[in-house]
């Protein structure tokens, strides 16, 4: 561990919630999560600009996705098995409803949608996609499960007027 770092992420940092919140438990209102996420994003944009803020969100999602896969998904033998586990885990944790629309065996391209997404469903239409964190999250999960790097781009989002978020994952060549 880097000595200069105060909060290098480990799963243990999430703490023992059962012990720590005997009365309030694991749940909280989604607005609170969004309040934190969008305030973080606001400050990052102010300090680093929009492009860098996006990159930070993507990288954060990637880090979260890597740990999420290791802790909650585990090894899977195929994309179908991964999707099945991921669908039930995302639903159980109220993160969103995952569906796969396409898997091109030749190019490796995967198109998936997430409805009722934690980050954006219900947000005002802003005319640009906002789920950058999700992009990194999905990229990390695909990479951890399938053993190759993916670049993930959100192509439809609640914030662009769609009812579901659509992500296109393309294997990174080279």
């Amino acid at each position: 561990m880097n000595a200069d770092r105060k909060y290098e992420f480990t799963w243990a940092l999430l703490g023992n919630i059962t012990e720590g919140r005997p009365n309030l438990g694991h749940m909280m209102r989604l607005e609170v999560y969004r309040l934190m996420q969008f305030c973080f994003r606001d400050v990052m944009e102010q300090r680093h600009g929009n492009e860098e803020a996006d990159a930070i969100m993507y990288q954060s999602g990637y880090l979260a996705g890597t740990h999420f896969h290791r802790q909650l998904i585990g090894e899977t033998a195929s994309l179908a098995e991964l999707v099945k586990k991921l669908q039930s885990t995302l639903k159980d944790l109220s993160i969103g409803i995952l569906r796969v629309e396409k898997h091109d065996e030749e190019t490796g391209e995967i198109v998936m949608t997430i409805s009722e997404d934690l980050d954006c469903s219900g947000l005002p239409v802003l005319d640009y996609e906002v789920c950058t964190y999700d992009e990194g999250f999905i990229a990390a999960i695909l990479e951890s499960a399938l053993g190759k790097k993916f670049q993930v781009k959100e192509v439809d989002c609640w914030c662009t007027g769609d009812r579901t978020c659509r992500f296109r994952a393309v294997p990174v060549v080279g």
Binding site: E101, D156, T164
Partner: protein, 298 residues
Amino acid sequence: MNKREALIFREMNEHLSRLLRGDFSPVRPISAEAPDFQTLEDSIARLAALLAEAQNFVSALCQGKLEMDTPPRNPLIDPFKQMHANLRHLTWQTKQIAAGDLDQHVDFLGEFSVAFNSMIEALREKRLAEEKVLYVSIHDPLTDLYNRGYFEEEMARAERGRNFPVSIMMADLDGLKTINDTLGHALGDMLIKDAANVLRKAVRSNDVVARLGGDEYALILPGADAVCAARVVDRIREIEAEFNREPREYQVRFSIGFATSGVGEPLVETLKSADERMYRDKIARKAALAEAMVRETN
């Protein structure tokens, strides 16, 4: 309203009427003549573009062209985009089912979901029934070991395969007839089952253990040379002895013979040799037993 404004309104009205008739051709620009109407003109132009896009999308959807990309930022077609997403996911699910994954479940298409899920359930039941039939067709019902048919198929497969040497072992249960005659067939059946378990415990997961019928068992040991096969015999003897240490009305005792085949040697001949050696073992065991009984009597 002055004459010029009335003319522009008539023009706008004509644009809207064309849109309502399904004519989404571009709007003739009039704002150069009337800058006050720029916003209205832009809105009509945007509406025409969205409607044209919607018409193309919905037409393609009706023709089942699910591979098309959905037009972004077009609120007029939101429900159709949802349907498009549903159908694309359903297509993916159907491909998964075709590949053998019968755990798929549809819950987003109303009555169709119910019908689709019933179909999957029927496929699951059919698969279970087929698996059951297959199981019954290749297993011995009494011992759950493979049956003669499967043993012969596996022997042919082993002969075509690359995992040589292959050892074939014959194991014949001693004294089954006596147990059947003196203690009854129910106990005889128990002996057959216990004997099967002794063999099952002695082999690797990729070995084939079969009951050929009556008191006759046979084993295929792929990749096992004579030394390995001899070790399997030792393991059978150990497990057999351990089983027999428990007081029961019967004991498991096998006469065993094996032979090993190299590449290109027909396994039928190997089986024959194993069978001959098993009979020699049986004769020797009988002789040894008779000798022991004589010694005991004296």
